[in-house]
Every structure is written in structure tokens, then in C-alpha cells.
Amino acid sequence: MTAVTETAAPATTTLTFAKALTAALGDAMEADKSVVMFGEDVGPLGGVFRITDGLTKRFGEERCFDTPLAEAGIMGMAVGMAMNGMRPVVEMQFDAFAYPAFEQVVSHVAKMANRTKGQVRLPMVIRIPYAGGIGGVEHHCDSSESYYVHTPGLTVVAPSTVADAYTMLREAIELNDPVVFLEPKKLYWSKEQVDLEALRAKFDGGEPDDDASIGRAVIAREGTDATLIAYGPSVPTAIAAAEAAAEEGRSLQVIDIRSIVPFDDETVTNAVRKTGRAVVIAEASGFASVASEIVARVQERCFHSLAAPVLRVTGFDIPYPAPKLEHWHLPSVDRILDAVDDLQWED
């Protein structure tokens, strides 16, 4: 009886985004010994953000290890390991330090399965601590998602919640396709109450999950007047904007895209049709970006439901600014509310 009561009680714990990722890696490595983790400083140090903390100790140097300092090397070696039965998870230390691996990503990671008509699939995950808002010096705050999402063959996700951090990383590792897994740096230390056991339970079956998070957007907040569409680091900002708008009597719906490729047109289209107005929010420079794509798709699909053009609140078309200037660059609650105000309200 006591036991039953105990298991029935919601076993929630407070977890940071970072620790959820660490848990996901540990659980995946426990569940499948073909999962290996490597990169720069991910061994004894546990990564500069400590996401791999403890993994080397727990699984040994062969399963979580440091490489020489060369990103193309890391990426190319991962390709080969994936070809030969492993499920490598690699960490690029910061977004801009993934660029040396760009050729490997575009010309091989993304193309191998197609090149071989599915005979060689690359079940690998590229973890990238990404985007800004942490006062990082140059090259430590790039929002590089547009480069990846434009590259067919890559699955690209950017979770914004602690629960999604866990679930989507596990899904990414289980997927037989290469996944670019974008970890918003500024959310690493965000906390949530989550039921980790319940999240884990989804991965016990071994059966592919029908309600996978990869490929699905979620409505992060219900609302009726306009839709804010965001992903990764911009989701909390969008929610904060919606909260502020609510105080002024405007009801904003927030969609967390979370899976950029594949893109969930259905959820987005239904949501925007309902509200007739939309603002897309992203930290990256706006030109030819994910935000551009979302605007394009929404206007293609919802044209007759739109009462106003779909607007964007994005980073400016400038190199990511130095720490003391970044607040001017990043989408803010005020800037989002300004855009909402511009949605040609009749009243």
C-alpha cells in the first residue's frame, strides 16, 4: 500500500536544462552501448558547460572521451563511427566552432544516406551550445541554425523546455538520421519541475514512439488575438511578451516550434488561421533565416486568414555584438509587443 502510494505520487524534481541533457546522455548510454560521446573537453572536465559531467567516470574513457582540437576531425570521425555501428554524439564547444566542420556536415553528414540510397545511414547527434544572451565574447554566441536547416538531410531541433531537452535528446539519439541538436546556452541554467521517471518511461519500450517530439511543434501558451511563433532561446521571451500583453488585455498564443526540420506545418497553420495575425521571433539575423521561412510558409498557407502581414522580430543583420551591446540586438519583450501593435488592429 505504502509502495503504491509512493509510485502514484508525482515524482517531480527540479531540474536545470543542462542537467536534463546530462541525464538524457547518461540514460541513452546506459540503454545502448553503441552510444558514444566525444568532443573537446567533454571527458574529465565534463564539457565547458558541464553537460557531459560524470559520463567518463560512469562509462569509461572509451565511451566518453576528449579528441584532439579539430572540429572537422570530430565530425568526420563521427561519420565513420556511425558507418560502423556506433551512435556517436558529438559536442561542438560553441556554435561558431562548428564552422570548421561545415564541409563534413554539408557534404557528408547530410548526404550519406541519400547518396547510398539508404544503405548507409548515420545515426549521429551533433550537439551545439548555441545563440546568445550570455555575455560571451565574439564567436561564442552565433545563431547558426539557418545554415543547418537549409541543408537537406539534416534534422534540426532546438528545445526550449527542460522536459523537451531530455526527451528530444533521447529521441535524437534513437533516430537513425543525423540530428543537429541546438542547445540554447542561455537556457542551460533555467529550471523546471519535471517528472524524470515519466519522461524516461517513454524510452523503455524500444518501439518507435508515435507521439515523438521531433517533427511536432507545441502550443506553449493558448491565446486568441495573435500568434507568436518562436523556438529555442526565444520561446521564454515570447511567453513573457504574451504575459505582458495579457495584462494589457491582448491574448497572444505562443507556439514553440522546437523541431525546425521536419517542420510542423499543421500546428502552425491551424494556429495562425485561428488568430489571423502572427509574429515570428528568432535571435538569428533575419535575412534568409528560419524566421523568413516561417513567414513564407505561413503566408503561403494562411493567406486568406491573415488580417496583417506576418511580421518578424529577429536579430539585426549584423555580426553578433559584443557583450555590452547584445541587449540591443536580441528580441525583447518590448520589441515583440511593438510588432504585435503593428499588426494592423482595427480597434
Binding site: A72, G73, G76, G80, T116, K117, V261, P262, F263
Partner: protein, 376 residues
């Protein structure tokens, strides 16, 4: 010396290549002896081994010629011939065991086929019906790499995985002299050395990267001298001497299999034809220079040697030629048949499960094609 800084210095003699490229059979078919920098001799492969490899050499030459003809007939879009480099091609394949892996480039059609892959399948890339035409897992042969030096890292990864899994697998990874200038070459050799994985890096130094001669590519004493910078042995070999190649590559493979780690082999050879049929070699090299290499031909040299050893009678020679002819004829047939391409394939393999976006796009194309077919 009172300082203990830099304890890492180790004797590097065994990592440096021998003073001359290893040669076991010279241009006249005469036997030579050769040893590595530590004085250990390279041994001549036995006659049966050489004879078996010679058959592949003849077949390789025939396929190179046939592919050239197919290009002229418009059956193949483009062909980078390994004419003159066939000894390297054959040796790269035959030193490997079944469980080993080969990582070839665009020029290594003959190496791939020497490992068992059907030449018709090998030429899929160059015919333009798909990017790769054979299943890499069937013969453990990776797809032929186009982006230079990138495949060397994949080779390291395959070897690394094999090591973690406790498999007895050696990986032989090929590239050209030009490719050694790429960053990926550097990273691959370093990763292989640091992780001490069984990879033999095999550089076919054919003196040119398209139009760029070796001297504009590197001013190192030799490309094999790069090995010491990674902490692995480097060796140079006469790339038109099949026996030397088998001996040196065989040694490198054995050493790697025994846990000795990676090895770099540079073969001195020559690209006898233009880079591809689309290239105009007269713009950057003289006929004289090319002629100098005719007498070094790998096929005739081996023939001379084997004849002198009485390994041939006329029947044997005819049988080898006939078997090569069969391969060429099958290749012709394969290339003459109408290629089959299915537009749906465009969307089928990009992901394990096509995304909704690709499903939409496939549907659009399907509709377009059916409208066209119905003459609308």
C-alpha cells in the same frame, strides 16, 4: 643537459621513410632489395601472389581503357583514369582481408573493382544515374569520395569503431598528393595516431593535382615525411612496382592489425592521362615528361618479371587477357543498357522517413509527371 623539459622527445628514426622509395622490381623487371629506415628488409611477395595480383592489374588496365572509350561514345559523362597507377589500385585492394575496409576516391575505380565490386556499379557516379552505385557494406568499400581528403576521417572513424567493438578490422584509406594539402588530411592522421587506430593512409603521389605539379603542393622532402609530425611511420614506395606496393602496404596492414597503429605510405607514380576527359593536360605538362614514365609502366614491368620467372605460358597470357576482356564486355553491356532512374528516389532516402515537406514535394512532382504523361 640539466633540463627535463620536453621529455616527449623520442627517437624518430623508425618514423622517417627510407632514403629511397622502396623498390623490389625495377623498370627492367629486375629484382632489387630494400629495407626500411630501421634496416628491416621488405620481402618479395611469392610468385602466386604476384600472379593473382597481375591478373587484376591487366583487368584494371582494360577497364581504364574501356571507360575511356565509353566516355568518347557518350555513355559515361566523365572518367578520371588511373592509367599508369594500376599497381597502386590493385595493391590497395589485395592487401586487405574480407573484414577490412577500403576508402577510395573518384580515381580509384580499379581499386574498388579489385575488391570485388561490379565495375558497372562502380561507374554509377560517373554515369550520372545516382551518387553511388554499390552497397558499401557488401564488400566493405566506402563510396568514392569527391570532396578531397574528407574520407580519411571517415576511415579513422570506422577503424575507431572497430577497435571499440574489438573487431579485427584494418582500414586502408586512399588519397592523392593534392589532397594532402587539405586540413582534413592533417586532422585524420592526427586522430588516427592519437587514438592509435588501425588505418593505413595510402597517398598516390601521381605528380599532379589536376594542373598543379607537386612542387606547388609541397616542398617537404617527401609526403611520407609528414608522418613523423603525427608520430607514425611513413614510407615511400615505387608506385609502379606492384611487388613493392604489396610488400610495403602488406607490412603496414599487418602492423596495424597487430595493434601497431596507423601508417602513412606514399607511392610515387604518374597520371598518364589527363585529369579527366574534360581536362587539357597540354596546358601544363609536356609530352616529354609523360613519355619518361612509359618505360616505368606497372603492367609491362610485372609481365617481364613473371615471364622471367616462368609463371606464364601462352595459354595463361591468353586466359588473363580473355578474362579482362569479359569484364570489359560486361561493362560495355551494362553501360549500353538504358539507365533506369525513378524520380521518386529523389525523396525516398533523404531521411529514414520522408518529412511532411518532402511528401508534399514528391506529390507535386508525381502530379506534374502524370500530367505530362497524360499529355496535358
Amino acid at each position: 643537459m640539466s633540463n627535463d623539459i620536453g621529455e616527449k622527445t623520442r627517437a624518430e628514426a623508425f618514423m622517417l621513410p627510407a632514403e629511397h622509395p622502396i623498390q623490389l622490381i625495377d623498370e627492367n623487371g629486375a629484382v632489387q632489395s630494400a629495407a626500411n629506415s630501421s634496416g628491416e628488409p621488405y620481402t618479395m611477395p611469392d610468385d602466386q601472389e604476384l600472379l593473382a595480383a597481375y591478373e587484376k592489374l591487366v583487368a584494371g588496365r582494360r577497364v581504364n581503357d574501356q571507360a575511356g572509350a565509353l566516355v568518347r561514345q557518350g555513355k559515361l559523362a566523365v572518367y578520371p583514369s588511373s592509367h599508369g597507377q594500376e599497381a597502386c589500385q590493385v595493391a590497395a585492394a589485395v592487401v586487405l582481408s574480407k573484414q577490412d575496409w577500403l576508402f577510395p576516391t573518384y580515381r580509384d575505380t580499379v581499386a574498388v573493382m579489385s575488391r570485388g565490386v561490379n565495375p558497372v556499379e562502380v561507374l554509377t557516379l560517373l554515369r550520372g544515374t545516382w551518387h553511388a552505385g554499390y552497397n558499401p557494406y557488401e564488400f566493405n568499400v566506402a563510396t568514392q569520395a569527391t570532396p578531397l581528403a574528407t574520407q580519411l576521417l571517415h576511415a579513422v572513424g570506422v577503424a575507431h569503431a572497430a577497435k571499440l567493438k574489438g573487431e579485427d578490422t584494418v582500414v586502408l584509406a586512399m588519397c592523392g598528393d593534392g589532397a594532402t594539402s587539405e586540413g582534413d588530411f592533417h586532422e585524420a592522421l592526427n586522430f588516427a595516431a592519437v587514438f592509435h587506430v588501425p588505418v593505413v593512409f595510402f597517398v598516390q603521389n601521381n605528380e599532379y593535382a589536376i594542373s598543379v605539379p607537386l612542387k606547388n603542393q609541397s616542398v617537404a622532402p617527401s609526403l611520407a615525411h609528414k608522418a613523423v609530425g603525427y608520430g607514425m611511420p611513413g614510407e615511400r614506395v615505387d608506385g609502379n612496382d606492384l611487388a613493392a606496393l604489396l610488400s610495403v602496404l602488406g607490412h603496414a596492414v599487418d602492423r596495424a592489425r597487430a595493434g601497431g597503429g596507423p601508417f602513412l605510405v606514399e607511392a610515387h607514380t604518374y597520371r598518364m592521362q589527363a585529369h579527366t576527359n574534360a581536362d587539357d593536360a597540354t596546358r601544363y605538362r609536356t609530352d616529354e615528361e609523360v613519355q619518361k614514365w612509359v618505360s616505368r609502366d606497372p603492367v609491362s614491368r610485372m609481365q617481364t618479371y613473371l615471364s622471367a620467372r616462368n609463371m606464364f605460358d601462352d595459354d595463361a597470357v591468353a586466359a588473363i587477357a580473355a578474362s579482362a576482356e569479359d569484364i570489359a564486355s560486361a561493362l560495355r553491356d551494362g553501360m549500353n543498357s538504358e539507365p533506369e532512374v525513378d524520380p521518386e528516389d529523389l525523396f525516398r532516402y533523404v531521411y529514414s522517413k520522408p518529412t511532411p515537406q518532402l511528401q508534399e514535394q514528391a506529390a507535386m512532382l508525381r502530379e506534374e509527371i502524370s500530367r505530362e504523361n497524360s499529355g496535358a
